[in-house]
């Protein structure tokens, strides 16, 4: 996986005039710190998951059993609290098996004898963070129910639609090996996931650290919890205030066109994937303490967002390589364009006098 410069975690700035992105940035940092305490050696996956959360997408983890995905999802769910004390569970896990039924996930209407009415009992999907374990082991019927929930943030039971919370975030997993008796997700369904993250075994030092901090990690971290509203507000603020230059759009479209024209690519990128890419880029910029999307963000995210949406010719090798190959030209154009003598496209907003995040650049 590409290394990404780790932005030093800095203490909260003593803000006088609050930058609109100050709160979202802080939220992201809290989540990051909490998750890093809970899971060792997965800093990049943590960042990607926070990015997906902020971009209102879902992630598909492809990894081996025991690599910490449940811990990760659970830690994420447990970091979120409901401000008004609603009854939505922070975290639910569903183990997908071939005999699972859609109602097992979405919930079921039960006849209440006392009221003589059918009453809807929400399923595990009514949670902030849902871990859909081994999603490829269940039947397409359940998969499509899941996917509706993911895309539309709603569940339909007995022809009645129940909305899910705006926070709703799915971490699905699948095992890259042991594919016998599975229902692999078709590309159309993979398209619903913002990221597909291939996890490898963690580094030696990190693994030692996992063993050493086994006890410490069980106690709740010192960081405060993040409220659901903070995350939902952060999404709005991010969309509003992290600047995406039109040249970034050009770069993305050109990359997609390159990919579609690539002779090894059988099926190229959908427009939806480009649309989904924008908030992801904004989230990654925010996570790195920037209020604009830079070429680095594209370079970093493109393999995670684009790779699993492509169908490439058999024997053509790694999708990641193909993506990076097609990205190079448009990215170089974008990078070079910053030298052009053009004034910023929009007048700078009233900036806080105090720096935010790691500082000087705000």
């Amino acid at each position: 996986m590409a290394s990404y410069p780790q932005t030093p975690v800095t203490p909260e700035p003593q803000s006088q005039a609050i930058h609109p992105l100050a709160a979202p940035y802080e939220t992201a940092q809290i989540l990051r710190r909490r998750l890093r305490v809970a899971i060792k050696g997965r800093d990049e996956v943590i960042d990607l998951i926070i990015t997906a959360l902020f971009a209102d997408g879902h992630v598909l983890l492809e990894d081996y059993p025991g690599s910490g995905k449940t811990t990760l999802a659970k830690a994420l769910g447990e970091s979120v609290t409901d401000a008004e004390g609603q009854h939505i569970a922070p975290f639910r896990r569903v183990q997908f098996t071939p005999d699972l039924l859609p109602s097992d996930v979405s919930g079921v209407s039960i006849f209440d004898v006392s009221t003589s009415r059918f009453e809807f009992r929400p399923g595990p999907i009514f949670a902030h963070v849902l871990l859909a374990d081994e999603i490829n082991r269940t039947s397409p019927k359940v998969q499509s129910a899941m996917l509706e929930a993911m895309a539309e943030k709603q569940v339909t039971v007995d022809n009645h639609t129940y909305p899910l919370d705006a926070f709703f975030f799915v971490v699905a997993t699948q095992n890259p090996r042991d594919l016998a008796g599975t229902y692999p997700l078709p590309v159309a369904q993979l398209d619903r996931f913002l990221f597909k993250i291939n996890m490898d075994y963690i580094a030696r030092e990190a693994e030692i650290d996992v063993l050493a901090t086994r006890k410490v990690r069980r106690s709740p971290p010192a960081e405060r919890l993040v409220t659901r509203d903070e995350v939902v507000d952060a999404r709005a603020a991010m969309e509003e205030h992290v600047r995406v230059d039109p040249r970034v759009h050009t770069c993305l479209v050109d990359t997609a066109r390159n990919l579609r024209a690539h002779k090894k690519v059988l099926q190229g990128l959908s427009t939806r994937s480009l649309v989904l890419m924008i908030p992801a880029l904004q989230a990654v910029a925010l996570l790195n303490g920037r209020d604009f999307v830079s070429s680095q963000d594209i370079e970093y995210l493109a393999p995670f967002v684009f790779s699993h949406r492509l169908v490439i010719a058999p024997g053509a090798g790694d999708t990641r390589t193909v993506v990076l190959e097609c990205l190079k030209g448009p990215l170089e154009i974008l990078t070079r364009s910053t030298m052009a003598n053009v004034a910023p496209a929009q007048s700078p907003p009233a900036l806080p006098s105090q720096p935010l995040g790691n500082g000087q650049n705000w």
Binding site: F292, S294, Q296, E332, S337, T338, L351
Partner: protein, 741 residues
């Protein structure tokens, strides 16, 4: 060799390079070295194949190969000078070892570097191609100019076995061409398609410079060997025909070939353009009494049953048998006394010196009639003139009418010589015309043989038509009879032959001379006489006792084709005369070897002119590049505030490029900053400021000093870790800023 291809595709390249390297080394080393060279080529291809994908920078690659070569050379020197090595291996062994290692290392290092370079930059492919062609061309360059016996080391072997070298060379060239094409194909990849025309051009130019340029020259070696006298003559005649403006030889050849007597002018290769062939500087003021300057190069006097040809025995006509002089040569046969005076006290002839500067190759010298002496002269301008020589001529001061009373022939002549100069076809019609002409004379003159000759001239003047456009049939038994007893339309060759036959009919020794004839009026008031190829001429001569050969030219009254329409440019004549008079800077270049062809000369001159033009252009470009470099570096000092984030960042980028740090293609700025930030964290900040300025919402205002300090800090801190020579090289590199952004 980007795509993986079968090893077989490399074989043409290996073969070509083995041939080239072997040929290049052949003259410099023994068979051991030759073997080493061939092995070295193989090694180079093997190494290059192995290192194909090695990520090594090109300058470093060449440095390594150069260093290796240097080490091997050094080792060879040490080996030769070391006593222990001599004891161990013996002196011959040491020599062999040193020779072997040197010739193995030469191709193994340099060719490896070249081959590896071609896989990266297609430019090197054309360098490789030109190198190959250059090697082959230089080896076979000796074969040019019709020197069929060269290069010796090949032809000697063939000639020893009595084989004709020509098929060998043709076959070799064809095989080489085929191999080159296969080689180009084997190297082809999509990226290089554009460059192929360039390579092809380089190859064609190389071949062109190596191939004979059509001027087949005199073969000194054939003459020296003494074998094949006939061949030599044939070659000489060919030489005359191939060169421009040697009318006599040319038409003689034509006569031999086809019987069509032809003036050289309409048929020469220049498409009728009247170009200068020589300039003659007269050392005294002289105007011939007969109004024309005749420059004799050759004479035809032997009647071979059909027409007059050059005397094969070389005993007669010795006045035209003089080759180009290497030292002062007196012309053997000379009967003209320059001291003799006429009864009225006027002198008959006097000596006059001239200098001749040839602009086109000639097989023999010519001189103003009558030549008495040839002397070598320094070529005043080897670029312009083929060669120069001085002549001394005994020129007539008197008109033909003053000579009428004189007897003809020479008392020294044997009857055979008389017979030789008076031999004519056995045809009574010639006698008839001669008699007819004699009837024109007043009775008291009819007995004088020279008066009769004059009468024949007048008769011919009156009864023939000058016409360049005639074509005489090839199969005539006597072409002259066909002319004289036919329509009497023809040009100088027909006229000269007719006159000579008629003169001989009346017992007057006569011959046809060939060379150039220039109207005396053309000289004007200057001393230079410009000879152009259109001046080539053939004219009849008669032998007057005490005076030798005297011109009695025919000038027909009726002219169908004006002999020469365009007048010589007096300015050109004067200018060339001036040039021929100048003494050259280096006296060594006297009698330069037969120069290279005009075409090659033109190419060289063009290249020189281009060089003269390119040099200032290159200097100007260099200055412009440096100015651009300085401007980009200094811009943050005086650009607008709004531009500071761009120009300060660019200034820092340029400094980094000077030091050898460049952002890779498609890499993001942050990525690049990250690699630099270790030594100069300021660069990270500068990058962020720049990106925020361009992609983000803008920066909070900073003072110019901050930007300058950041930019300078980056340059200074990164430079700390760079060796001095690298810094100096970067600072001097005029193009280090190119494509930096």
């Amino acid at each position: 060799m980007g795509q993986t291809r079968s090893i077989w595709w490399k074989i043409p390249g290996i073969l070509i390079w083995m041939a080239a390297a072997g040929l290049a080394a052949y003259n410099f080393t023994s068979s051991v070295g030759l073997l080493a060279v061939l092995l070295g080529v193989l090694a180079a291809f093997a190494i290059a194949g192995q290192l194909d994908r090695l990520p090594i920078r090109l300058p470093r690659l060449w440095l390594i190969s150069g260093a290796t070569l240097g080490a091997v050379i050094l080792l060879g020197i040490l080996l030769r000078s070391s006593d222990t090595a001599a004891k161990l291996l013996g002196s011959a062994g040491v020599y062999t070892a040193a020779e072997f290692s040197l010739w193995l290392a030469l191709p193994a290092t340099l060719l490896t570097a070249l081959l590896l370079s071609t896989t990266r930059y297609s430019l090197f492919l054309s360098i490789e191609a030109s190198l190959l062609v250059g090697i082959f061309a230089s080896v076979f360059a000796a074969h040019r100019e019709g020197s069929l016996h060269r290069p010796y080391f090949i032809t000697d072997r063939l000639l020893e076995r009595n084989w004709d070298p020509l098929p060998f060379f043709l076959g070799f060239g064809a095989a080489l061409g085929v191999l080159l094409v296969i080689w180009l194909l084997s190297r082809r990849s999509a990226k290089r398609t554009l460059l192929d025309p360039l390579i092809l051009m380089a190859i064609i130019i190389g071949m062109f410079l190596a191939l004979p340029d059509g001027k087949v020259r005199q073969l000194n070696a054939w003459a020296a060997s003494g074998s094949g006298d006939e061949k030599r003559k044939a070659e000489q005649e060919k030489g005359g025909g191939g060169g421009s403006g040697k009318g006599g030889q040319k038409q003689q050849e034509k006569e031999q070939n086809g019987g069509r007597n032809q003036d050289p002018d309409p048929s020469n290769g220049s498409g009728g353009k009247n170009f200068p062939v020589a300039v003659v500087n007269l050392h005294d003021d002289y105007t011939p009494p007969y109004g024309m300057f005749y420059f004799r190069q050759d004479a035809l006097s032997t009647w071979n049953g059909k027409r007059l040809i050059r005397d094969a025995s070389q005993k007669l006509d010795t006045d035209v048998g003089v080759p180009f002089p290497a030292e002062a040569v007196e012309v053997p046969m000379r009967d003209r006394a320059d001291t003799e005076r006429q009864p009225n006290g006027k002198r008959l002839a006097h000596r006059m010196r001239t200098t001749v500067a040839l602009m086109t190759p000639h097989s023999k010298p010519f001189a103003l009639i009558d030549a008495a002496k040839f002397e070598p002269a320094t070529n005043p301008d080897p670029k312009r003139f083929e060669r120069a020589y001085k002549t001394e001529s005994i020129v007539l001061d008197t008109d033909f009418s003053d000579l009428l009373h004189r007897p003809v022939g020479s008392e020294k002549w044997s009857p055979e010589v008389w017979q030789h100069y008076t031999q004519v076809p056995d045809d009574p019609r010639y006698r008839k015309i001669a008699d007819e002409a004699r009837q024109l004379l007043p009775p008291h003159l009819r007995g004088m043989v020279l008066a009769q000759a004059l009468a024949i001239k007048f008769w011919l003047d009156k009864n023939t038509t000058y016409d360049l456009g005639v074509a005489r049939p090839n199969d005539e038994a006597d072409p002259v009879a066909g002319f004289l007893f036919g329509d009497r339309r023809g040009y100088c060759v027909h006229l000269a032959h007719s006159a000579a036959y008629l003169f001989r009919t009346i017992g007057l020794p006569s011959r046809v001379s060939v060379g150039y004839a220039v109207d005396a009026r053309q000289r004007g008031s200057g001393s230079a006489v410009l000879i152009r190829n259109g001046d080539a001429h053939a004219w009849p001569e008669i032998y007057v006792k005490g005076l030798g050969w005297v011109v009695l030219d025919i000038t027909p009254e009726k002219v169908a084709t004006p002999p020469q329409q365009d007048k010589a440019d007096p300015e050109l004549q004067r200018m060339l005369g001036e040039m021929a008079r100048q003494t050259p800077g280096s006296p060594k270049e006297e009698n330069p070897p037969p120069g290279d062809g005009d075409v090659r000369k033109a190419i060289v001159e063009t290249l020189q002119a281009m060089g003269r033009m390119l040099l200032p252009l290159a200097a100007m470009t260099l200055v412009a590049l440096y100015m651009m470099k300085i401007w980009r570096r200094m811009e943050p000092r005086f650009c607008t505030e709004a531009r500071l984030p761009v120009s300060a960042y660019r200034s820092a980028l340029d400094s980094l490029a000077d030091l050898g740090f460049r952002r890779g293609f498609g890499a993001s700025r942050e990525h690049f900053a990250e690699s630099i930030a270790a030594s100069a964290p300021e660069f990270d900040e500068l990058t962020q400021i720049h990106l925020r300025h361009s992609l983000g919402a803008g920066n909070k205002p900073r003072s110019r000093a901050v930007y300058l300090a950041l930019s300078r800090a980056v340059a200074r801190k990164v430079a700390n870790g760079v060796p001095f020579w690298r810094r100096a090289a970067g600072a001097l590199h005029p193009l280090s800023w190119w494509k930096v952004s």
